[in-house]
């Protein structure tokens, strides 16, 4: 009766299928020391591609290639503002507090909407019975 981690097996099976499809991309992305370094760097703070190129002492083109591979694997998200492309860590495994709360809220709202229907139905029935008795 916990916040149901429902039907774990079925979900895991699906996750495995999903993971299988993404394994190549992820392993490929993580097989390179520079790309692992980029992830560590982004864990500390978002950075532009040129900043990253500076840190890892490589050309802009070279860094773009690395970031592209990380992005394709879903590990990094980039966003272009003006002439600067900023990189941050992808959402996977990094859920922020607001999303965490919202996920729970939706589950409980679905349950409690259903509970409210049950409560209203029982309340109506009770009132009807009360009227008949009088």
């Amino acid at each position: 009766m916990a916040l149901a981690r429902v039907n774990v097996r079925a979900i895991v099976n699906r996750m495995v299928q999903y993971a299988t499809a993404r394994l190549d991309a992820s392993f490929g992305a993580l097989s390179d020391a520079t790309r692992r370094g980029v992830l560590e760097q982004l864990e500390r703070a978002d950075a532009s591609i040129s900043q990253l190129a500076d840190v890892f002492e490589m050309t802009l083109t070279g860094m773009k290639k690395h970031v592209g591979i990380l992005e394709a694997a879903g590990l990094v998200i980039t966003e272009k503002v003006g002439r600067v492309r900023t990189c941050r860590l992808g959402r996977r495994g990094l859920e922020d507090e607001a999303a965490w709360i919202e996920r729970r809220r939706r589950l409980w709202e679905a349950r409690f909407d259903a509970l409210d229907e049950v409560v209203e139905e029982l309340t109506r029935k009770e009132k009807a019975r009360g009227r008949r008795k009088r």
């Binding site: 039907n7 774990v8 809220r105 589950l107 909407d113 049950v118 409560v119 309340t123």
Partner: protein, 163 residues
């Protein structure tokens, strides 16, 4: 936000280890309490359709020290069970139970309060650690099931259909 007709469900992280869910129901405390402690009624709402997985069994021995067990799944073989026991039972006021299906599961406290014929319900889940609270995903939210289904369809050809 006023309390009167507010049907919204609020979720707060009260502390590192505690999550609080609040909602007002349109009926008297007595009936809301009944819906939490009667298996036939409980089964009607704890696993709403949008959850994607039906509840197949629900047993409750609602008294201090009494146990409960609920199972979700599409059939007995693949069902997942949740179980524990009641630590406190105060009719129409308060329920406290343990969640014993995993070491990271906590203790749940539900209080029922009369608000002029409506019921203010406050549910607290206290986890053994911050990590456990973080991990407890709140279950799969409906949209996640939908997302998974979409993904599966998308991948269906690639994953399942490989020669």
């Amino acid at each position: 936000m006023g309390e009167g007709n507010d049907k919204s469900t609020r979720v707060e992280r009260a502390s590192e280890r505690e999550v609080v869910v609040t909602r007002t129901f349109n009926g008297p405390v007595r009936i809301v309490f009944e819906a939490w402690t009667t298996p036939e009624l409980f089964m009607r709402w704890w696993a709403p359709k949008s959850l994607g997985v039906p509840m197949i069994t629900c047993e409750m021995d609602v008294r201090v020290g009494g146990g409960y067990r609920v199972a979700f799944g599409h059939d007995e073989a693949s069902a997942t069970s949740f179980f524990g026991k009641y630590l406190e039972v105060v009719p129409n006021e308060r329920l406290v139970w343990t969640n014993e299906e995993s070491e990271d599961a906590g203790v749940t406290t539900v209080t029922f309060e009369d608000k002029g014929g409506k019921t203010l319900l406050v549910m607290r889940e206290l986890y053994p650690s911050k990590a456990a609270a973080d991990e407890a995903s709140g279950g799969m939210a409906p949209e996640q099931f939908a997302q998974l289904d979409e993904l599966l369809e998308e991948l269906g050809a690639g994953v399942g259909g490989k020669p």
